[in-house]
């Protein structure tokens, strides 16, 4: 009897994201889950006293100072930018999916481990702008969520980007009122991040973005509880009609 298995919806989503961004010139990068404080915070222009570094937000490794579970995928961006500096290049595009960790109590919308996707595109100064960021993310959400999807930038603040924006996506969730949903953070790489990687921020600039994957899937498929994703339950994996 034919017995096809199933892929986890996160795998299905990452494939689609890698494909969409691949067609826009983005390579896939990966990096360690056990990360150093340097790549997770210092290299990303996050001040030493920033609350994100606290025990309430970040999982730290016992008896190993400066070792932590990565809280975002942006540390891999820093590592990739270092590679670009070593190669002496100025252009690079990466899409970076992976598991991240936050020390927060779990409930229907919060998990201590979840997936994020970061991405960036850098080029010689002036080549890559906020307008390219807006186009790239619009392309992505239109392909991923449907042609009616649109985005808006809401000014915000993150250490690793300047200017920084929250990316709201206009989406019509299954059986719900259409609305703006906060989907990602984005902006132009902060000059300190570029410099930290060994690149000249006057010569290399670009955009970066990052967002949670489970939330995107919850919206897209009407999944009620984030804790369903990583509890090993096959009923979840089989809970989707496969078209």
């Amino acid at each position: 009897m034919n017995q096809p298995g199933r892929l986890h919806p996160i795998t299905i989503a990452i494939r689609e994201i890698a494909d969409i961004f691949g067609r826009m010139g983005f390579s896939v990068a990966q990096g360690p889950e056990l990360e150093t404080e340097h790549y997770n915070f210092d290299a990303l222009n996050i001040p030493a006293n920033h609350p994100a570094r606290s025990m309430q937000d970040t999982f730290w490794v016992k008896d190993q100072p400066h070792q932590l579970l990565r809280t975002h995928m942006t540390g891999v961006s820093a590592r990739e930018l270092e590679k670009l500096a070593k190669e002496g290049g100025t252009r690079m595009r990466r899409i970076i999916p992976g598991k991240v960790f936050r020390n927060e109590a779990t409930d229907m919308t919060h998990e201590a481990q979840f997936y994020q996707v970061d991405g960036f595109a850098v080029g010689p100064a002036g080549e890559i702008t906020m307008a390219h960021l807006k186009w790239t993310l619009t392309q992505f959400y239109r392909e991923y969520l449907g042609k009616d999807a649109k985005i808006r930038f809401r000014p915000s603040f993150f250490g690793f980007t300047e200017p920084s924006v929250e990316v709201d996506v206009w989406f019509e969730p299954l059986g719900k009122e259409p609305r703006w949903l906060e989907m990602a953070g984005a902006g132009m790489f902060h000059p300190n991040v570029i410099a930290s990687a060994g690149l000249d921020p006057k010569k290399v600039r670009g955009f970066a973005f990052g967002g949670g994957l489970e939330r995107l899937l919850m919206v897209k498929y009407g999944i009620p509880d984030v804790r369903l994703f990583h509890n090993g339950d096959i009923r979840f994996v089989h809970g989707f009609e496969q078209v």
Binding site: Q3, G25, F59, K62, G123, E162, Y221, N231, V237
Partner: protein, 391 residues
């Protein structure tokens, strides 16, 4: 910081818009509104503006810039510098905009920046105690924030002329596709474990203080649980096979492990039930491979209440289509039927025998045997009425 509408109004002569409109204005200008209670605003000042916006006077000055409404008493401001030197071209080169000099200078005026023009560049001084103006990107952000990012156009990303490398990623996905083809279902489990080589200084769950060194234990647990639910998701006769790809943390260093609940026939008996994908040579394997894409429909939540299975076998005339039988079963079984699988078929003396498994479940309650007995009696009756012989 918390501030009332009335307190803000004290700083202005002309009437301010309502509290909600003010909240909206802050939200779209890099402040977060924690709450609005009547006339009381709770404004979260982000770290870059902590120096100048943690007072009522600071917030009022900012609101004056955002709304472009004059203050009743313009404060004496000082400009200690250093200045940020930026050209209009560089500013538009960050934002991807075509803002005019007049528009940009208008923003500087609203923000009370002191500006000198030298050799075609602006030398921008922010008023003390603002300390967030150090790079040209900071100035570009202020202009984008005040003029509005809706004015940033959609500009297609230039074509990338370098190589696009997704080979390694695709190599892993190719292995997953083969596993799915072999009947394996992918699961995802928690990275935290009871024991391991690496412990967390601040575990969330004190009983799970370590990082997993293998996927084996989680996958075993997942399989044990899956067995209880197998009839709910698989057809009779289908074997439950699971796999996971995830990072593990032995003392030698983390790596990405692939783990299966049994060997994969297509990979040979000697291929073990696990693999270290971090050292596997997957680049060539993934180079020319396009991972299979799936379209998923809406998620259908499973019930928290147990399901009940019943089998039914019947003789039908050999020309009968199984879909005709399934239609009768579905119609009679009603909405409690969540799964129907044909699991046997053979012919004998001009007749065909079919066997089906029915799975019943309610989203609201635990079903009773008596209830399902009644449903099955109705199904049998309808099948007999259609001229079939229920065995």
């Amino acid at each position: 910081m918390k501030i009332t509408h009335a307190k803000l109004q004290e700083y202005f002569t002309q009437p301010l818009p309502g509290t909600d409109a003010i909240a909206e204005a802050f939200t779209f200008h890099a402040f977060e509104i924690e709450s609005v209670e009547g006339e009381l605003l709770d404004i979260k000042v982000l770290p870059n503006r902590a120096a100048d916006c943690n007072s009522a006077a600071g917030i009022a000055l900012e609101l004056s810039a955002i709304l472009d409404v004059p203050l009743a008493h313009e404060p004496e401001l000082s400009y200690p510098g250093p200045a940020v030197e930026i050209t209009l071209e560089a500013l538009n080169g960050i934002l991807g905009t075509e803002f005019s000099a007049a528009e940009v200078e208008e923003v500087f005026r609203r923000l009370r920046f002191q500006v000198e023009q030298k050799d075609g560049a602006y030398h921008v001084f922010a008023p003390a105690p603002r300390n967030d103006m150090a790079f040209i990107e900071d100035v570009a952000e202020e202009v984008g924030r005040i003029l509005g990012y809706e004015r940033v156009p959609l500009t297609p990303l230039p074509a990338f002329d370098g190589p696009v490398d997704q080979n390694r990623f695709r190599g892993v996905e190719r292995m997953k596709d083969q596993l799915v083809e072999q009947g394996f279902t992918e699961v995802s489990t928690q990275s935290f474990a009871k024991k391991g080589d690496i412990y967390l200084a601040n575990p969330l769950d004190k009983t799970m203080p370590a990082l997993r060194t293998t996927l084996e234990d989680n996958l075993k647990d997942a399989l044990t649980h899956a067995k209880q639910y197998a009839p709910r998701v698989l057809a009779p006769g289908q074997k439950l096979k699971l796999f996971e790809v995830g990072t593990v943390f032995p003392k030698e260093g983390e790596f990405v492990e692939l783990r299966m609940t049994e060997t994969v026939p297509a990979w040979g008996e000697n291929f073990p039930t696990f693999d270290n994908l971090s050292i596997a040579k997957l680049e060539d394997y993934g180079k020319d491979y396009t991972p299979i894409r799936y379209e998923l429909g809406a998620y259908r939540p499973f019930s928290v209440y147990p399901f009940i299975t019943r089998d039914i076998a019947l003789w039908v005339p050999s020309e009968t289509e199984s879909s005709a039988i399934e239609n009768i079963i579905r119609e009679k079984a009603g909405e409690l039927l969540v799964r129907l699988d044909q699991f046997d078929r053979f012919e004998k003396e001009g007749r065909t025998s079919y066997a089906f498994r029915l799975v019943f479940e309610s989203a609201e309650r635990t079903l009773t045997d008596e209830e399902i007995q009644g449903v099955m009696a109705g199904v049998s009756e309808a099948l007999v009425k259609a001229g079939f012989e229920v065995r």
